[in-house]
Symmetry: C2
Amino acid sequence: MSNTQIKLAQRPVGLPTADTFNIEKNPIPVPAEGEVLLKTKFISLDPAMRGWMNDARSYIPPVGIGEVMRAGTVSEVVESKHGKYRVGDILVGNAGVQEYITTDGRGYHSVDPKLAPLPVFLGTLGMPGFTGYFGLMRIGEPKAGETVLVSGAAGAVGSIVGQIAKIKGCRVVGIAGGKAKCDYIVNELGFDAAIDYKAGNLRADMKAACPKGIDVYFDNVGGEILDLALTRLNMHARIIICGAISQYNNTTPVKGPANYLSLLVSRAKMQGMVVFDYAKDYGIAAQEMAGWMQEGKLKSREDVYEGIENFHETFLRLFSGEKMGKLVLKV
Amino acid sequence: MSNTQIKLAQRPVGLPTADTFNIEKNPIPVPAEGEVLLKTKFISLDPAMRGWMNDARSYIPPVGIGEVMRAGTVSEVVESKHGKYRVGDILVGNAGVQEYITTDGRGYHSVDPKLAPLPVFLGTLGMPGFTGYFGLMRIGEPKAGETVLVSGAAGAVGSIVGQIAKIKGCRVVGIAGGKAKCDYIVNELGFDAAIDYKAGNLRADMKAACPKGIDVYFDNVGGEILDLALTRLNMHARIIICGAISQYNNTTPVKGPANYLSLLVSRAKMQGMVVFDYAKDYGIAAQEMAGWMQEGKLKSREDVYEGIENFHETFLRLFSGEKMGKLVLKV
């Protein structure tokens, strides 16, 4: 019995390689008085994790060299010296890419496993779901009849953004890579239109799919897609900067949006968001989204891979465009 | 007696040249019933005019080839068949770069010449002043103690932004080109610090002048300065995109702000503005700013050149960094 841990061995340049991480087997920690021992059940794989590997000023400190890689998790309490938590309880938090951790419970919250399958608490009822919910609702402020465009539309965040925008009565257009994803967001998730960015007609396809222009653009990708979306903004449009997955593994400088002056022409705003700022309202979002799930209006999809030792190669699926929905590693 | 008119002869690539404009002498128009004949007294020269020369989608249509160049003006009524206006009344509007025009008065408003010297109605109590006022107050929303950075700080808009931010209790840092302008904004206008972008230490100078980071950045210039400002944003910072004078005469594509992802890190927003949107509140702004001028808290400076036939070379002073305050052509 040991605790397998994935630690950051060196800072990657471009895509993480096998040398980026070390796999270690260490003794299972022992909980002190007031602590629990958690066994990791599922590990969340998110694009943001790539940013945490960089030694750069950001919204949270980078993961240190030699530290366990930070990650969101669903864990089970397997030993408790804590007044509140019992063996068998399910806790969501950031236990990182490892099998076991001890904690006094700060930064964790318990969830009801009867509400949804456990991976859903890392997706629709977790950070990606909350990111889509608050980014769209609080910054995008979609109104019925408006056109909402979202990139990374088949992903964990984008699929939620599009479905909520539909619930709010908007015309919803998703950008995704390849026919399978485009079919999925239109046929399964109910988007009004899909744009396949790999088809090579991005400009013309965006124009055709957004004939009345764009009122809200939820950007997960940056790069050329952001730049093109800027050319089709309606007056007072809102752009939510949630991520820039096309730029995360750049070894050259980030490409800035050359068309940013359309913000002036369209009196539009471009605003960054980080989901942590909305933590006090997670409960509101979870309740509303769980309701939509029960009504069948909001579908949750998880791509689950197995084996903590496969962390590195599974993580790369985020950037290869191979996965649909929320990427999760089962431990 | 004739009407000298400056017409757009061809669309410039880069800086306008002598071939960009034609000078014509045409008969003075005759007002119809319900119209006035206006004689132009002062013509406003603004960076935005460069954009109006391009055949591009923008917030107003481009000036057509062969049309009189659009410009803000202060004019005197020299003949009236209008129920409201009398000979000698002073009207502010967009008469364009010409000596005479007839109008039914739509798009013009009368001003009281006893309130301020006439060129002030093209500067502090005109479009540039309103631009600074509404951009700062409605989008920047400065709070006492915050750091407000403004580029083009010795110009018609920037000088107003900085002075109003001081009135609001902010630390105010201006970016301008050359020692004379930097001395002017600190010694005459009361800015807390000035950054000379021509001195070659922009990054270090910005860091030194904004030790507590930037809460509001009012951008008139774009390019490298915008990109650097993005690296020093405080949480929930606001960037007002008012213009991008560094990019207006580009013959290469506009340089997008490569550091735009700091909007995400800092949960900041970047929002475009066009002063026309605030037209219904111009009166509020004029009243408040006139009050500040009387109290000596808001100084207005105009650089006045003479002769409508000198329009082209005077216009180029906007881009050569030669002028301070509001650039005006006396007819």
